[in-house]
Amino acid sequence: MNLKKVLSGFLMIVMISSVLLGCKKDGSESVSKGDLSGSEITISVWNEQNADDELNMYLQAEKATGIKVNVNVIPESDYSSKLNQMVATKDKSSDIFVVWENDIKNFADTKGIVALDKYLKESTINQDEFIDAVANLTEGLGATYGLPWCAATEILYYNQDMFDEVGIPYPNNDWAYSDFLEAAEKLTRYNDDGTTEVYGFDLPNTQTWWAGIGGAGDQVYDAESGQLVIGEGAKSFIDDCAQMVSKGIMPEPSSDTSDKFASGKAAISWLGSWNIGTYSDKLDFNWDIATIPTDKIKYNTLHTGFYTINANSKNQDAAWKVIEWLMGEKGQEINSKSSGNPSALKSIADKGAWKVETATTIDNWEAVTDSLAAGVFGYTCLPSGVTNNAISLFNTALSGQINSQEAVEEAMKYAAETIGY
């Protein structure tokens, strides 16, 4: 009986203490503006940090600023929706959001992030240094709400050994689309039963479908109306892909998740520039890169994220201090080295820290800079539901269930229903 009483008393004390602790004023609120070292901030990102401490930019930012940096990694597939929910609920758990292209205007309009102009006035960050596309994207917001953490793009990867085997010259940055189609056909190897052993070209992914469509002459994204704009270019690229699928030059869409280029099952692949860091010295063959071949125009999509400060953060000054370091030369250099993505600041990008040292077979580094120069913010400014729906329709057209005309019309119809809701 006594034991029961002691236990109940103990549990009661624990419960009351828990409630009181829960009601405790957030310790972070007590940090004064002038005393930032020793304070603590949290940054929300979608990618895990580099395992090498020297290349972990948030750890290095922590050392340099004296501000404890917690990293909140949200899976990429849910990243945008989670951030939107955090903004909607005025969540205070993150001080810095790395915001995607399609969300920055949204967050600025809803006052979910703060204007950085007051900080930039006293900062050494020169906004004129940003690549032009970034300036264009954030134009019209009325203030600067975010700073681009890097500039990534889409490029062509090719297996040099396979090109050597067939005896055709390597792609270069002036490669025409017709050269590419011809090479893909020649590089395809068939089994005795007619099935494909090695594909000439891997299926475009959710990013590079748009490079093909934009290259074939479509605008893809209209910044003024915010609409998806596709037509003849999309039809032409879908038809080309469907033809390649029917000849076994390109794999048909399936639930296979393996990387056919990395596994030596495809000679050419169009992928994001960040794959350079992923492949580095891990592939069993010689490989290099080139720009996406030019059909009607040179086109690829730029990718970035913007460092922004949560309007509900109690540590905005500390958050800015960390952002300022990350956007500085050292922060950008570490970011480039760890991700393989160039800085969006031209003078820093020119120094070439993004050239992944372990990717020793790459000669054509200009492919990245040329692609960046031709890059535009395109499909990434559209809701992911719209672009996923379009890709699903394009893939359906490759399997012959609908034709390219129907795929494009359906994609446009759905986009019109969705955008501007």
Binding site: T195, S255, T257, P383, S392, T418
Partner: protein, 304 residues
């Protein structure tokens, strides 16, 4: 005086009973009634994921009923729910029959049959996505080995095979395993004397099944059917999202309403529209439940 005392006692008893029930009522009000009411109220707005919201009346519902995407999704949901309900119930009944036979190692068989059911649906779906791959799928590799030719069936992306693959996978879900256990307990409760009487009358196995077993387990069949259909309506998301994506590939053939709700609310940030779709899904589940109970009045046999 005595009457008043009795009344007071009754009142105290009633209040005590309500007091004990209060925690459940609070939970029911906060976690069941409130979300449903809130969902309906949000469905009358154009709320976006970032919180911007404006009352728009029944516009979301008007847009839904004029949308070809919704109409397709509705058809897919009906088809998927009915077929999944039938397939899983029949399979669970078949497995329960096998387990009900008196044989050695029955416990081990039951464990083996039930084991896949305790794997989370998402993990199960990812595993099957790999198994049903075209170029690198285990199933195609197995078929190639057996047939001696290079089999490359695009199971999850071909309009002719996608349903076959998806319904096959549903046999391994928790829902089917749970149904199997419930059927098994029901089969155990069928009086042996009825079968003995059937044997004396010279009834065939099929006749015994249709005239004895089925009527005796019909209440359990009803329970499993209701639970199975609601589970197919609401729980298919966890299975289909990893298998065929939020767009319900190929050509939206597997885009059930729960996938469409996710797509609209979280990918397109149309929370108000997503809530309106959820209200419709809720009503469909109600209609399914009521419909099955209505039909069951003629089909279910209650001993008492």
């Amino acid at each position: 005086m005595e009457i008043k005392r009795r009344r007071n006692k009754t009142l105290v008893n009633n209040l005590t009973a309500y007091g004990f029930m209060l925690p459940w009522f609070i939970g029911f009000a906060f976690f069941t009634v409130f979300p449903v009411v809130f969902m309906f109220s949000v469905s009358l707005t154009n709320r976006k994921l970032n919180g911007i919201s404006q009352y728009i009346g029944f516009t979301n519902y008007k847009n839904i009923f004029s949308s070809s995407t919704f109409r397709n999704s509705f058809r897919v949901t009906m088809f998927f729910t009915i077929i999944m309900m039938i397939v899983t119930a029949l399979w669970a009944l078949f497995m329960a029959f096998l387990l009900n036979r008196r044989q050695k190692l029955n416990g081990i068989f039951q464990f083996c049959y039930f084991l896949p059911s305790v794997i989370p649906s998402v993990a199960l779906a990812y595993a099957f996505r790999t198994i049903f791959g075209k170029d690198a799928g285990l199933f195609n590799a197995l078929l190639s080995l057996i047939s001696g030719s290079n089999v490359q069936i695009n199971w999850l992306f071909d309009k002719n095979t996608v349903y076959l693959a998806v319904f096959f996978i549903t046999l391994f879900t928790y829902n089917t395993g749970q149904m199997m256990l419930i059927f098994r307990s029901g089969l155990n409760d069928v009086p042996k004397e009825l079968y003995e009487a059937g044997n004396i009358d010279g009834a065939s196995a099929w006749l015994k099944f249709t005239k004895i077993t089925l009527p005796m387990i019909s209440p359990i069949m009803l329970f499993n059917t209701v639970m199975g259909s609601i589970s197919a309506l609401n729980g298919s998301f966890a299975l289909l999202y990893p298998l065929t994506g939020e767009t319900g590939d190929p050509n939206k053939m597997t885009q059930v309403l729960s996938l469409l709700i996710y797509n609209e609310a979280f990918s397109n940030h149309k929370v108000g529209y997503g809530c309106a779709l959820s209200v419709i899904l809720f009503l469909i589940a109600c209609v399914f439940g009521i419909g099955i109970f209505a039909v069951s009045k003629k089909l279910v046999y209650y001993e008492n």
